[in-house]
Structure formats: structure tokens, C-alpha cells
Amino acid sequence: MEILRCENLSKVYGAGDAQVKALDDVSFSVEAGEFVSIVGPSGSGKSTLLHILGGVDKPTGGKVFIAGTDIHALNENKLAVFRRRQIGLIYQFYNLLPVLNVDENIVLPHLLDGRKMDKERLDMVVESMGLTERRNNLPGQLSGGQQQRVSIGRALFNHPAIVLADEPTGNLDRKTGVEIIRLLKESNRSQKQTLILITHDEGIALQADRMLCIEDGRITRDERIRMRQSTEEASNSGKHKDEFNAGSKGKDGFLPKQNTNSRGTAIGGDRQ
């Protein structure tokens, strides 16, 4: 099932001589449950694309359909409601509210939706993010990795149609970054959570089912990835066996992947 489709997206900043074409006729679609990574050099338009997909920025041209809805045709209020229900956004700089504690930050989109507090869901998310000890702390009292876990919890809380992450590990050390990616992958795996992730790190990018390369606002490559994976994982992502492009890029991904694997299995096992 197709969960996201964008058609001929373009975005132009400025006017006249100072005009910058951040996106140039971008079209692609994403299947439900798919894990897509977006890579590209700095300034190539990745963030712009992600923001347009997330409904926080408007394209100069083109359309975005999420779960069949043309999101940029919605008025501002409806778009806000759509965002809190269907889109989870994760940023490089966490963007948590400094006055809310961990619990409150996570549950925020849910509450904004005017729904009754779901304590069980909260406990589950907090636990799966490994934040049980810190749930009463304010963001200022947390480490970077912990803050990012809170923002992942927040993004996942409402079971959105799609989670968009913009360099979530960019501000973290490698070890913590790996941990964050594992959590995201885990949600993708176990909840069939559609995930689009921007990264500079090819090792991370290669863990996705599919990788989009952007250069100068255009998609230059769109590849299915077939990694060497453990038996468990292989059976899960079996349908994407056809295209496999590993080569040298694969080597970068090995070390973290193995790391992720061992732990991911442990937690996954707990839950299943």
C-alpha cells in the first residue's frame, strides 16, 4: 500500500538573482512500512524536502499525498490536526519544550489532539525508549541521546502514518547515534512504522530498505538495499531481495549494524 506520494515537488527560495532552487521536480512514493533513507551533500535540499513532506513548509509547486490526503490543500488548522495525528517529526536538535518533563513532552501531540491520556501507551513508549528513570526530568537535565529518545517517543506516540527524521544522530556521538537508529529501526520493524530518515552517515543509510540520493534538489538515485542480515531480519525484509547494491558502501555499515543487531534482537525478543 502506498502511504506517501509526492508529485513534481519544487521549492524556490528568494527571488531574482538571489533565487535558490532547493527542490527541483521531485517525485517519488513510499510504501507503508517502508524504511527510506535520504542522503546527499549538505545544502542539497534534504531538509527542505522533509519539511515539505511533514507539512511544516509549503512547496513552491507540486503535491504531497499522505495516506491519500493532499496535505498542502488543507487549511492551516486542518494541517495542524493532520500533523499531530499522522506525522512524527524528529530533528537534529531535538526541539523539546524545555518546560515539560519527559512524560509531558512525549504525550504532547496526543494531548493536543484533545484525547484522553493513555497511560498504558505512555508507559510502554517511555519504557521502550529506556527513559523510565528520567520521566520526571526536564529536557535541560537530560543528555543529548536521552533528549533525542524523548523526541522519538513523541514522534511515535500517536502511531503516525509516517515518521520523518532529519539527521537525528547529527548532534550525537557515534555510540549514542547507533542507539537512536536502533530504536527507530525497531519501531519500523515491529510496528510496521513507515520511516523516512535523513543522514550523512552512509552506514546508517544502508540499513534502510531503500535509499534516495539528492543532489542539487533532484533525486539522483533511488535504490533498494539488500544487506547481509541476520536470519531473523532477512525473513522480515524478504520481499526486498531483488536489488542489492552493496560494494564498498556496505563495509561502512557493518560495524554499527552488528552492534545494533545484537541489542535489537534482545529487546525485540522481550517484546514478542
Binding site: 519544550l97 518546560v99 515539560l100 501531540p109 520526571n136
Partner: protein
């Protein structure tokens, strides 16, 4: 190289933060503007009022009639007399050209040149007389159809007018409007405004030629002078008077005072010199000229100036302080950098002062200019209002607004502005000077290690906005602190000024009306007082017979007639009285001295007689025994139990009190209803005191009697009695030569609302000092005290409004700072799906929280300030009751609250317009 690197960097930052710099600049301009309004406006306003007031009766201050050369020289010798002018009534001549047979004469007066100007003589045609043989004639003559034109010559044969009683049957003929009583066989000279009667049954008019003759050429026509009576037999004609008038026996003198030198004693000086001859003071003009007595406009203006200056300074200091404080973080960073490369604490401080004075340099002239503009506009706008207030519309229209700029006042504006700037910059400068370089650069971000439980609110649905608002307020209050402070300042300003205004207005009331117990008379259109019993009775009869008058009841008072033992008065009264004597003697009097200077064995009580209907209603209000009170035989009285005493109401011969002091007396007597007051009244016939036992039918407070008695208070016991008791007392004090003590009857008149000819005639009588009756209308009462008070109120309100501008600026600036500081959070909230409505709701909740806190802080500070103000007023003036104007305060609170919400939502809308992305992308 730059001359001063610290200043240079400061300027660069000022350029960078345009909005902040502008707010501060605007604040300083506002302050200078307000200071200008206070100092220049004061001068302009008073000058204008004087100008207008002089149009009513003229530019003179005192006129003396029929004085001799010796008296004139005495007047000239007075130090406070600035200029004099002379005039003389030459007498009547026949006016053959008259077009009105009831006005067959001309009344010729001679003026020296000053007089034409001072008396507001307005030339309508031709020119004014320049030599003795020339006259100008009142326009009223031409209006009546006189056959006369410029260039005509009038042969004058002067005569005096008198009347002789011719009817033996008629014992006395009363001419109430001329204050004349004519007995049979008597011949009396008549005043200038006497009508033309020819011969009637009871009297005859005589013309007695003085032998003085002359030829006058008519050179022009003047507007009918204000003193000419339309029913007089003679029209006014003015001729030129030469200075050799001094050789003649008597003449009139008009003078202008030197207002810088004149003191309260001027009146006595005049009384002494006049020695029985008539004189007149131009009260309208004097009321606005200041200095003539303590309760004038000048004194009030001085109090208000102080009040306003303090107010403006307080508001400005807080604004500037807030601006500095809000930018403290940023400043401490760049100043820290300067510091790390070797700037001293003094240099850092100088940066703050530099910024303030740099802005002041430009703000001063701009504020001055704007202030003068505001004064001009305000004067122009308020002109008709002032005119209406003082019953002087026609004069106000004739008087253009001129701005009076005195160099001293400009200096004051500059001085106070600079002082304000120094004070407001001093605190932040000190704070910044203290901080070391490391702290500056690092910024003082402390990490709290407190844990916060998830709010319980969360378990309820739809609580996200409330929860956010609450957490914003409780977990990071410093963010909204400047808003809170600004709102609190605004509230304090409004509340304190509301109180201060009520206090000032109260003091004005007391100072203007403190002297006496006064009955309220709003229910009546006119009150007629009688100076002369016979004339009073005659006019009263006419009024009671007039069909246009719906009610005319008689009230009366008797003052300094009754005496009571000291024990009738309360201990509270005695304490106050003693304090006042101590003030007059500038020391604590011993018991013996006090007893000697102010004997306490016998005190005065006063009586007020009102008609039965009114008395019955007063009894109802106070719960007094109505039956006893209305009994005409057995004396009973309703006691006004509240009173006051002040150094104004009690004076000690030839002594000046240490300072002004006012005492409010809550209970004048400790006696109760049913007790009997033994009032002794001196009977001149029996040459001894008679004791009249007077039962207290009830006691009333000002509050209970507020419909009848002005709540200013009196320093003697006032006893309300009925007509019968009043008459009983009247009988006791009667003697052949008149009454002993002071009795004053008055007729309370209600008309059917239509213009009444009789009333108009009676009104004319009161020009001049010896009127037999005095009629005062409700509008006439508005003239001085009330007009001044209204002006004071208008000024107070205007100033509160203008000062609010500074506070609003402050509030606006803080809210904007708060919004800008929160824009990133708003962006995050929006990105996780908060709608605009939810955001507004959240802010609304936050506003409520901020406002509640501001209200709390403001409440505490206002209470403190009010206490201080009250204390100040009490030590300055005495225990005046000052009400907190609750309505005004409630209004202020609502206003401040809505302004806060309004500004917040507006700023929020502006912040929301900015792209969400910009904020999300910014680094944390």
C-alpha cells in the same frame, strides 16, 4: 582609531537592536513630553485662565470709589500696588436725542487712559476720547433709537438725582433693586442705575443742577459696559479725564496688583484705607492670579506639579530599567567580551549611561517640541470645556491660545528628564559593572536538578493548553517576569493615581470649602440671602408671588448665639482643638496656658433651621425622633455629629500656624439621643444669659445626611431645629437695635425651569459689595472652587492617560520580548500539531497567570504606596478621609488585563506569521 571603543560598541549594538533602542527612545521622548506638559502647560494654562478671567470684569484687581487725594497717596504707597488708574463719575446730563423715554439721561464718567483698557471698553465705531471735551456713548443708546452720530455735539448741564418721599401714608418705599429705602419726607440721592420714575404717588424725583457745564463732541460708540443696567435712566457716556483730577475732592481709583508681592493681607490694607468708602474686588481675576490666598490655583498647581513629576519619573524609570534588564543577557555578553580584553567596571557602566544620554540628546528637543504641540492641541480642545465650566464661554471664545514658554521651565524639564535618566540607568549599570568577564561570557545558565512530576491536569482530556501554560509559568517564571513587572507597574500606576487623584481632589475640596458648614442645595435652582431684612422681605414677597417659581422655602442659621459647657463636646474634639492651638503657638501649651488662651468652659453651638418637610426627611435618614424634632414648643434638635477642624477654620489673632493641619472629628459630642444640651443664649433685653434645654432628638453622620449637608464638616456643633425653635431663639436675642449674634435667613427657590425675569433682575443686584439680597444660582456656584476642582480632575485624568502611554510602551516591549523569546517553542508546538487556536488559548491562560501574579505584586506595592501617600497627606494636612475609588480601580484592573491580553495576542499573531521553519532550524 575610534575615540572610545566602549561607546562605539554600544552604538553598534543599539543599531543592531533597533526595536529595543526605539522603545527606549520612545519612552524617553514620552517622559520629556510629559515633563514639558507639566511645566510649560502649567504656565500656559494659568496664563490663559487669567486672560479669560480678565475679560469678565476687566483687568483690574481692586476698585475704590469716592476716595480723596490722601487715600490715593496711601494706596500708591502700598508695596503690592503695581499700577493705578483713575476715574470719576461726572454726573448726569439730559440726553435730548434719546429714543427711549424711560432713559432720558446720559451718565458721564471720566476715565484716565488706563481705565479704558482695564475696564474692557470695546470701541464699536469712531475712536476713544483723547481730550476732555470728547465722549463715547454706549451702544445701548443707539439700539434704543437715539438720534445721534459721531461728530454730534452735546451741550451738558450736570445735575444730581434724588428722590423725596411724598406720601404720608406710606412710611417707607423700598426699591429692592437699588437697595434703597425711602421714608416719608426724606430726600435721598439715588445711585447711577436708578430707573426713571418722574412722579409717582409715593415719591418724587428731583434734579438738582450743579452748575457745572460743558460741551461734548461724540467721537465714537462703545459696546454697552457690563456695569450698565438696562433699566437705568441713564446711558453710559465716557469722556477723557486728565490727571489734574487729583485736585478735586473725590474720585475713583482702580489698581492692579504686583502679584509677586501681594499677600493675604491686601484685603485688610484696602479696608483700612477705604475707611468706609465703597470698594470692589475683581474676584474672577484674583481667583486665577494666585498668591492672593492660600487656596488659590497656584497652590493647587504646585501640589499637582509635584505629584505629576513623581509619577512621570516613576513610570519612566521603570520603563528604562525594564528595557535594560530584558537585554541584560546580551549586554553582559558583549560587555563581558570587552571586559575580557581589559575594559574596566567603570567603562562597562559608562556604556549604559552612554546609551541613555545618547538617546536623551535627541529625545529632549523632540519631546519638548511634541509637548508644546500637545499643550496647544489640548488647550484648543479643552477651551470650550473650560469656558463652560466657569460660565465664561463668550470670553473663552474671544481669547486665543498662546503658549507661554519661560526659560526656567525649560530648564526644569531638562533637569528632571536628566535626573530620571540617571536614576533609571544607575541600577542596571551597577549590576553590569559588578559582573566579571567569565560570568559574562558563559552566561548564567544554571541547571536545576529538580524533578517535576507530570501534572495531574494531564489525566483530564483537552488539558494540553492549560498544562503548557501552567508549566511555562511555574517552571520558568523568569521568562515572563518582565511582562509581569510591566503589568504590575501599569496596575500600580493606575491604582495609585486613582488614589492620589482622589486625595488631591479631596484636599482641594477641603481647602476650598473648609471654612464652613454648608447645606446642600442642588434641589434648588437659586438661593437668596438677605443682607438687609427689609429688602430681603420685599424681594421674598415678590418671589413668592411670581408664577414662575414653584417652591420657595426658608432656611436660616444662627451662628455664635448658643453656648454650651465644654463637656458637651467630645474628648476627640478637645484633642484636635488643643493640637491646633499648639500649632499656632509653635509649641506644646501647658494645661494652664491652654485654658487661658482657649477657655474650655464654654463652647459655641450653631443652629440651622430648615423647613419641616426637609427636617422630617432628615429625621428619617438618621432615625431621629421625628415627633420631638417637629415640636414647635419643646426645643429639640438633630445633631450633626461629624465635624472637622483645621488651621484654616480656627485662627488665632495675629498668629500664624506652624503648618496647615486638618482634623476630621468623628463624633463632635459624646452625648446620646435623649440627652439634653443646656444651651445658654444671651438676651440683650434682659442683659443676661437664658438657658434653653434642648433635647437631642437624634444624631446624624455625614453619610446619613449626605443629601442635605456637604461633607466638608464644621468645627462647631450644628443643631438642626424647626422654625418654631428658631423663632424662640430669635426672640431671645432680639433687641431694639437688631439681633445679637449672626443670623442669616435664606430663601431656597425652585423655578419652573423657564427663564424668569424677576430672577434676572434680582441677579443684577449682586454686582457691588453692599447688596441687600444676594441671589446665587446653581451655575454661579460652579465659578471658583468647583471650576478649579474640575480643572484639577481633568488634569489628573489627562496625566494618568499620558503616563499610561509610558506604561503601555513598557508592557508592549516586554510582551514582544516574551513572544520573540518563545517563538522557537511556538514553532515546535506547531510542528507537533498545535493549531493556532490552541496556541492562543495557551497564551491566554498564561496571560491570566501573569496577570494574577502582577495583580498580587501590584496589590502589595499599591497598598504600600497608598499607605505612604495617606501618611504623607495625613502629616501634611491632617486626618482627611481619602476613599480608594473602587470603581476606578476596578476599571483600571480590567483595562490593564485587557491591554495585556490584547498586546499578547497581537504579538503572538505577528510571531506566528513568521515561518515555522526558521525557528525549528535554529540551533538549540
Amino acid at each position: 582609531m575610534r575615540k572610545n571603543i566602549v561607546f562605539y560598541v554600544t552604538r553598534q549594538y543599539m543599531k543592531k537592536n533597533r526595536r529595543r533602542t526605539f522603545t527606549m527612545f520612545a519612552g524617553i521622548v514620552c517622559m520629556v513630553l510629559l515633563m514639558t506638559c507639566v511645566f510649560v502647560g502649567k504656565e500656559t494654562g494659568i496664563g490663559y485662565l487669567q486672560e479669560v478671567a480678565s475679560l469678565k470684569k476687566g483687568k483690574w484687581h481692586v476698585s475704590m470709589f469716592d476716595i480723596t487725594k490722601k487715600q490715593y497717596e496711601e494706596v500708591e504707597a502700598l508695596t503690592w500696588v503695581k499700577e493705578t488708574a483713575l476715574s470719576k463719575t461726572l454726573g448726569c446730563i439730559d440726553f435730548a436725542q434719546s429714543g427711549n423715554e424711560e432713559r432720558p439721561y446720559l451718565n458721564v464718567k471720566g476715565y484716565t487712559s488706563h481705565c479704558f483698557d482695564w475696564m474692557n471698553i470695546t470701541l464699536l465705531e469712531g475712536r476713544l476720547p483723547e481730550k476732555p471735551g470728547e465722549i463715547v456713548v454706549s451702544e445701548s443708546a443707539r439700539q434704543d433709537g437715539a438720534r445721534i452720530a459721531a461728530g454730534d455735539v452735546i451741550e451738558a448741564d450736570f445735575f444730581t438725582r434724588s428722590v423725596t418721599g411724598t406720601d404720608a401714608e406710606v412710611k417707607e418705599t423700598v426699591f429692592p433693586f437699588q437697595q434703597l429705602i425711602l421714608h416719608y419726607g426724606e430726600t435721598v440721592e439715588v445711585p447711577e442705575n436708578f430707573p426713571y420714575y418722574e412722579e409717582t404717588e409715593s415719591f418724587r424725583e428731583n434734579k438738582e443742577y450743579t452748575g457745572q457745564q460743558g460741551t461734548y463732541e461724540v467721537v465714537g460708540f462703545i459696546e454697552t459696559p457690563s456695569y450698565e443696567d438696562s433699566s437705568a435712566a441713564a446711558y453710559t457716556a465716557l469722556t477723557f479725564l486728565e490727571a489734574d483730577i487729583l485736585s478735586e475732592d473725590v474720585f475713583n481709583l482702580t489698581l492692579k496688583m504686583d502679584l509677586d508681592k501681594v499677600s493675604d493681607g491686601y484685603f485688610m490694607d484696602i479696608v483700612k484705607i477705604a475707611a468706609g468708602s465703597k470698594f470692589d474686588t475683581n474676584d474672577t481675576l484674583l481667583a486665577f492670579s494666585g498668591n492672593s490666598s492660600e487656596m488659590t490655583l497656584n497652590r493647587l498647581v504646585r501640589y499637582m506639579t509635584i505629584f505629576f513629576v513623581v509619577l512621570i519619573m516613576a513610570a519612566s524609570v521603570l520603563l528604562i530599567y525594564n528595557v535594560f534588564n530584558m537585554s541584560f543577557q546580551e549586554r553582559s555578553r558583549y560587555l563581558g567580551m570587552l571586559c575580557s580584553v581589559g575594559a574596566t567596571g567603570r567603562q562597562k557602566k559608562s556604556s549604559i549611561f552612554y546609551e541613555t544620554f545618547y538617546l536623551m540628546l535627541f529625545a529632549l528637543p523632540i519631546g519638548l517640541g511634541l509637548g508644546i504641540g500637545v499643550i496647544y492641541v489640548a488647550m484648543t480642545v479643552f477651551r470650550p470645556y473650560i469656558g463652560a465650566l466657569m460660565n465664561m464661554e463668550e470670553f473663552v471664545e474671544a481669547c486665543p491660545v498662546t503658549i507661554k514658554i519661560v526659560p526656567e521651565n525649560l530648564v526644569m524639564v531638562a533637569a528632571f528628564s536628566v535626573l530620571t535618566a540617571v536614576i533609571s540607568a544607575w541600577l542596571p549599570a551597577r549590576k553590569i559593572g559588578k559582573i566579571g568577564p567569565v560570568e559574562c561570557i558563559r552566561g548564567n545558565v544554571e541547571k536545576k536538578s529538580r524533578q517535576y512530576k507530570m501534572s495531574r491536569m494531564l489525566y483530564r482530556a483537552k488539558a494540553a493548553e492549560g498544562m503548557l501554560a501552567r508549566n511555562n509559568l511555574t517552571r520558568r517564571s523568569q521568562k515572563t517576569r518582565s511582562v509581569q513587572r510591566a503589568a504590575a507597574v501599569f496596575l500600580v500606576l493606575l491604582i495609585v493615581t486613582a488614589f492620589g487623584s482622589s486625595a488631591v481632589s479631596r484636599v482641594v475640596t477641603l481647602k476650598l470649602k473648609a471654612s464652613d458648614f454648608t447645606m446642600k442645595r442642588e434641589n434648588y435652582d437659586y438661593v437668596m440671602y438677605g443682607n438687609d431684612d427689609i429688602i430681603y422681605e420685599a424681594v421674598k414677597k415678590e418671589i413668592q408671588a411670581d408664577p414662575g417659581i414653584t417652591q420657595a422655602v426658608e432656611w436660616g442659621d444662627l451662628m455664635f448665639v448658643g453656648e454650651v459647657p465644654g463637656s458637651v463636646y467630645s474628648a476627640e474634639y478637645d484633642t484636635a482643638r488643643r493640637d491646633i492651638f499648639n500649632l499656632y503657638y509653635h509649641r506644646e501649651l501647658t494645661d494652664e496656658e491652654y485654658e487661658q488662651e482657649a477657655p474650655t468652659d464654654s463652647y459655641v453651638v450653631n443652629f440651622m433651621m430648615v423647613d419641616d418637610e426637609t427636617l422630617a426627611r432628615m429625621a428619617e435618614k438618621t432615625g431621629a425622633d421625628k415627633k420631638k424634632l417637629l415640636d414647635r414648643e419643646r426645643p429639640a434638635a438633630l445633631v450633626l455629629n461629624e465635624g472637622m477642624m483645621s488651621t484654616d477654620s480656627i485662627s488665632v489673632w495675629e498668629r500664624e500656624p506652624e503648618r496647615y493641619r486638618y482634623y476630621r472629628i468623628h463624633a463632635m459630642t459624646d452625648l446620646q439621643a435623649g440627652d439634653v444640651i443646656p444651651v445658654s443664649i444671651y438676651s440683650p433685653k434682659e442683659e443676661k444669659k437664658q438657658v434653653m434645654p434642648l433635647e437631642i432628638a437624634g444624631l446624624g453622620s455625614h453619610e446619613e445626611l449626605k443629601d442635605y449637608v456637604e461633607e466638608v464638616g464644621a468645627n462647631y456643633l450644628w443643631l438642626f431645629v424647626n422654625e418654631g425653635v428658631y423663632a424662640q431663639i430669635g426672640k431671645i436675642i432680639e433687641s431694639e437695635t437688631g439681633r445679637y449674634g449672626m443670623s442669616d435667613r435664606r430663601l431656597m427657590i425652585r423655578t419652573n425651569g423657564e427663564p424668569n425675569q424677576l430672577i434676572e433682575r434680582v441677579k443684577k443686584l449682586q454686582d457691588g459689595n453692599n447688596a441687600g439680597v444676594l441671589l446665587s444660582g446653581n451655575e454661579a456656584r460652579m465659578e471658583f472652587g468647583d471650576a478649579i476642582q474640575s480643572i484639577a480632575n481633568v488634569l489628573l485624568i489627562s496625566f494618568v492617560l499620558l503616563t499610561s502611554v509610558i506604561c503601555l510602551l513598557n508592557l508592549f516591549n516586554s510582551v514582544q520580548g516574551w513572544m520573540t523569546g518563545s517563538s522557537r517553542e511556538f514553532a515546535v508546538l506547531k510542528s507537533v500539531g498545535m493549531s493556532g487556536g490552541q496556541l492562543r488559548k495557551m497564551l491566554l491562560y498564561e496571560c491570566v497567570g501573569i496577570f494574577a501574579r502582577a495583580l498580587l505584586v501590584a496589590g502589595v506595592f499599591s497598598a504600600l504606596l497608598i499607605y505612604v501617600i495617606r501618611f504623607g497627606f495625613h502629616t501634611l494636612f491632617g486626618n482627611i478621609v481619602i476613599w480608594l475609588p473602587v470603581g476606578l480601580v476596578a476599571g483600571a484592573v480590567v483595562l490593564a488585563g485587557s491591554v495585556l491580553v490584547g498586546i499578547t495576542l497581537r504579538c503572538c499573531a505577528k510571531v506566528q506569521k513568521e515561518e515555522i521553519l526558521e525557528n525549528i532550524r535554529r540551533e538549540g
